[in-house]
Each structure stands twice: as C-alpha cells, then as structure tokens.
Symmetry: C2
C-alpha cells in the first residue's frame, strides 16, 4: 500500500517549513513552550481565492500575504512572532508548481520574520482555494497593546501610507492605470506588518489596531471601544507618491483611499504630550508615522474633513464580506 498523495504533498512542500515544536508535522499536534515570562498572543485570518487575493496573483505572494495579514494582527498587539499553523483547502486540480511557489514564498517570509510552521491541515475543495492561518506570538505582560484605551484629546496616528492596497487591487483589475514602479500592486499583494513599530509604541500608545477593512471603518472600531468619536483631516492622511499621482488626476478616488482597506498599517492613539516619544519610537522601528486627527468626546462617529474643511460624505465605511 502506497501513501496517499496528500502526505506526499505535505512532505514535499510543507515539511521543509516546519519549526521547533512542529514534531516534523508527523504527529497529531505541535508541542511548544513559551519563553519564560511571556504571554501567548494568538489570532487567525482566512483568505479566499477571488475574495482576498486574485486568482492570477503569483503563488509566491499569496502565502506571504496570508502570513503577513496575520503578522499584522500580532503587530497591533505589540507582540513578537512565535510560529503559525495553516490549513490549505485547495481547489481540486491545483498544480504542484503552484504549491511549490506558495511554499517558496512562505519560506522567504519565515526567514525575514523569524518564525516557522507548527502544524496544519490540507484538504481539497470543488470551490475556490480557501486558506486559513493561525499566528502565534508572545508579549511581555506589561506591554500588551489594546484596541480599547483611547481618550478624548488623544491624537490619532497611522504608520506608513494609506490607500495603496485598495488602489493596487484596482490597478490589478485593470480599473486604474498602473504606476511605473508597480508600487500599488506590490502593496496589495505584499502588505508590510509593522511588527517593530507595534513593539516600540507599546507603553506609549493609548490604543492601537491594524487597518485591514479601511481606515474610517477601523477607526470607528477603535472609537466604539473607547466610547468616543474621532475627527480626521483627509489631507493629513499619508499617501505614497503613486497614490498621490492617482488622487491628483482623480480626486474622486479619495474615498477608496480612506475606506478601501488592505492597508495593514497600524492605527493608534496617544496623548499629545507623547508625540515626541512616538516619533522617537517609530524612528527606532524604521517606520514613518503621521498624525491624522484626534479623538473627541461624544458618540463613536468618525468625521473626515476634506481640504475645504467641510465634512466628507463617505458612502461606505469599509469592506464587509456580507
């Protein structure tokens, strides 16, 4: 009796990615120890072909995006990566080459982010490929970043630039012209989890989360957790040169930038007196941060003011699956 193809697939593509505690992916579960004095931080995100990534995205970037959107959740908690488990439910007929590329991308990011696979499961589906990843990290007990904690008067900050991912998706769909450097498409396919920044601002920021469903919607979540509102200046929201060029040509793209999602930047708040400490921490982490507004007393409404000072009317707060 030969072994079924499922086990050959796991041995060929995933076993080389296995880390300490994974027991070579040959047992029923992984067994790991946390570093002494650290708490476990754990989150899970799924990605579906045609929903969270494009069917013709390179397989190398799909595995990396899956890992990175999960690492972004660790970043938002101030945590450091420990490992991950992954379930790959593959559309029937998925080519071995596709899997090889998928695993090659994961191997590259494992090296860059310092973690390895601990376990998972592989199955087939008649529907689109459905990937799920559970990320494990650790944090010192007194350094957990939380989404709750913003107070009226706090500044609102974001890391990096906003809107690249949402614009990049539209570029890849052929709805917008591509920038010459391919920056926007790359940002859609390969978000940059702000792990060093999350750890650097823990203890300074009053609240933090990552921006995945759109800046305005996600700031709304942060406001609801705090029982406060927020005011954002649209012109203060940092955009990349490529996004700025598109916005310059068509100002009606501003809502895409503000609500489109797929940013995976950190959104956080802090009292104005902490601004210089934040800037120092961000510089240490090698990431730009920008003050985009402030937390205000009142109901959890996010008001975005345009360049003329008038409130923008945003048709949709952000991405939803239902």
């Amino acid at each position: 009796m030969s072994l079924p193809a499922e086990f050959a697939l796991i041995a060929r593509h995933f076993r080389p990615l296995a880390g300490e505690g994974a027991l070579d992916l040959a047992d029923d579960a992984a067994v790991i120890d946390l570093p002494a004095g650290r708490r476990l931080v754990i989150a899970a995100d799924a990605m579906v072909e045609g929903v969270h990534y494009l069917p013709d995205d390179p397989p190398e970037t799909i595995g990396r995006k899956l890992l990175r959107v999960n690492l972004s959740d660790l970043a938002a908690m101030g945590a450091a990566p420990l490992g991950y488990l992954m379930t790959t439910v593959l559309q029937r007929g998925t080519a071995d080459d596709w899997l090889a590329g998928f695993a090659r991308g994961l191997a590259e990011d494992q090296r860059d982010f310092g973690l390895a696979v601990l376990g998972g499961d592989t199955a087939a589906t008649p529907g689109p490929t459905c990937l799920s990843l559970t990320i494990l990290g650790t944090v010192a007990p007194d350094a957990v970043l939380r989404r709750v904690g913003a107070r009226a008067g706090d500044d609102v900050w974001v890391s990096g630039t906003i809107g690249d991912g949402a614009l990049g998706l539209r570029v890849l769909r052929g709805e917008l012209p591509a920038d010459s450097g391919g920056h926007l498409a790359r940002r859609y396919r390969l978000p940059e989890p702000r792990l060093a920044l999350g750890q650097a601002i823990a203890g300074i920021a009053s609240a933090a989360m990552d921006v995945s469903d759109g800046l305005v919607q996600d700031l709304g979540h942060l406001c609801r957790a705090a029982g406060c509102g927020a005011e954002v200046e649209a012109r203060a929201v940092p955009v990349s040169p490529a996004a700025g060029a598109l916005l310059g040509a068509d100002a009606t793209l501003l809502p895409v930038v503000l609500t489109g999602g797929d940013d995976y930047e950190l959104l956080f708040t802090a009292p104005p007196g902490s601004a210089s400490a934040l800037v120092t921490a961000a510089a240490r982490a090698g990431v730009s941060i920008t003050r985009i507004g402030r937390i205000v007393a009142g109901s959890p409404v996010v008001a975005v003011r345009g360049a003329d000072g008038a409130a923008l009317s945003l048709a949709s707060g952000g991405w939803s699956h239902f």
Copy 2:
C-alpha cells in the same frame, strides 16, 4: 455609518462563545497565559461542506464535529483542552438560522469539554462552506503522548469501536440501511474525542495517535514513525452492534470498517506487560479498549489477517483528499 453585517454576525453568534483571553473578540488577537508548568499543544483541522460533512447535516452537529475532530488531536497527545480559534468561510447566502444552530452546537460542546473560543475570522465564499479550527491544549512536560515510540513486540490497541463513522456516512448517503437507533449516523456526525483516555494512558502507552483517515492507514503512519510493521487480527477489531449487524449481512463491508476513517478513536501501543495498567487506566477514563494486534520487526507494512488466518487484501489504505 452603520456597521457592516459581518460584525453583527460575529456579535450575534460568536461573541457569546468567547472565553477568557478572547478580549470579547473585539481586539486584533487573544492574549492568554498557560497554566504554570504546562506545555502548549496546538493543532488545526479544516472541514469542507460536501467533503467532511454532508450539506444537509444539522448545523448543530457540524460545529460540534469541527470542534471534536480537533479535540481528538489533543486526546492523541495526552493533552487537556484550553481553547480554540475558528475561521468560518461561509457560502454566500448562508442563512442566519444555520449560523444560530452552528453556534448553539458549539456552545453545548464548549460546556461539555470545558473550553471556549479565543478568536477567529469570518468571510464569505462563492464555493462550499470551508471551516477551519485551531485547538489549543496543555500537557505536563513528562506526559506528552507521541506517535513515535512503538517497538517490535508491543501490543496494538484501539479505543471504542471502529468503522461506525465510515458506515454512518454510507447510511446517510442512502447506500446502506440505517440501524434503528441511528447509532452509525450519529457516530459520523458526532465523533467522541477520547480526552480522558489520552491523559490516562500517557506514561503507559509507547505511542499513540487518533484514527481519522482509517485504521489501517493510520496504523501505517505509526509504524513508519517507529520503523516497524504491524499485524492486526480483523476479528479482534471492536465493532458496535450496529456495525456488526451490517457486517453479518455483508462481509464485503469489512474493508470499509478497516479503512474508511472518521473514527476518532485512539490507536496506541504498549509492551504486553503494560496491559493491565492500560485496562485500569481505560476503566478510569470510562472508555473500552481492545487489543487488535502487535508491532513486528521489519518494514512499515500493516498486515491484516481475516478470520481464516489469511492476509486480507485491502484495495485502499484509507482516505486521501488528492
């Protein structure tokens, strides 16, 4: 701006299931502490509609099956449950009633098995519903059950009865007559993770795993881990009265019992001198166990002998997705 439907769905169905450390499912990740002196045991299994469960299975049992197949992996490691994360990628148009039933079943099993949800993700797909669960448990450092460790001369044991799940699937598909008590269908839909048994035999068994892909195939994995073979007496394999009645009427169903999978019983080995300690441990755990064969020196081949002493020829070693 109102909240998207996705968040209402999570608040309505999943937040009531959240446990300590889940931060009310309102943060980017869960933060938990392991009980002092315990190691973390973690595994993930996916289930796809039409592949791992039937589209018309009651939603109450689907969530419970998803949880139980994962708990079975903890059982196989001798671990005790701590919590779980779950990603639900739902076929578009999934009814709210279906989700209510799915969550109701999970709530029931959470009480029975003493754990709660820590986090996860919800998305939609045009394909069949795709569920993934990551189970967390803990184990004392000196009580980890491993798949590796069997030695020539060890007895091979299984818990409970074998073949009910595979026969139950065929009953539910209308391929076999139902037993009057509905035992076989129930066993397919609601496997019984042998958590107490796993913990009871840790330190006695030389190797252990759970039977999910079929007894013969899974024993093959255990043999490969050990670099040994195994001999099994088909007539020693324990079957339920309902399975026995079907086998009595049609002996050609024996390969279904031996290779069909969906058993979620524990398969384990121990030196013959440990038999009475195993029986005592199993009695304490309230689970029957049966000696079905032995580990032999040589290549990792599983030989099954029929009632006449001749080797059975099994066309397929067990379930594979590819």
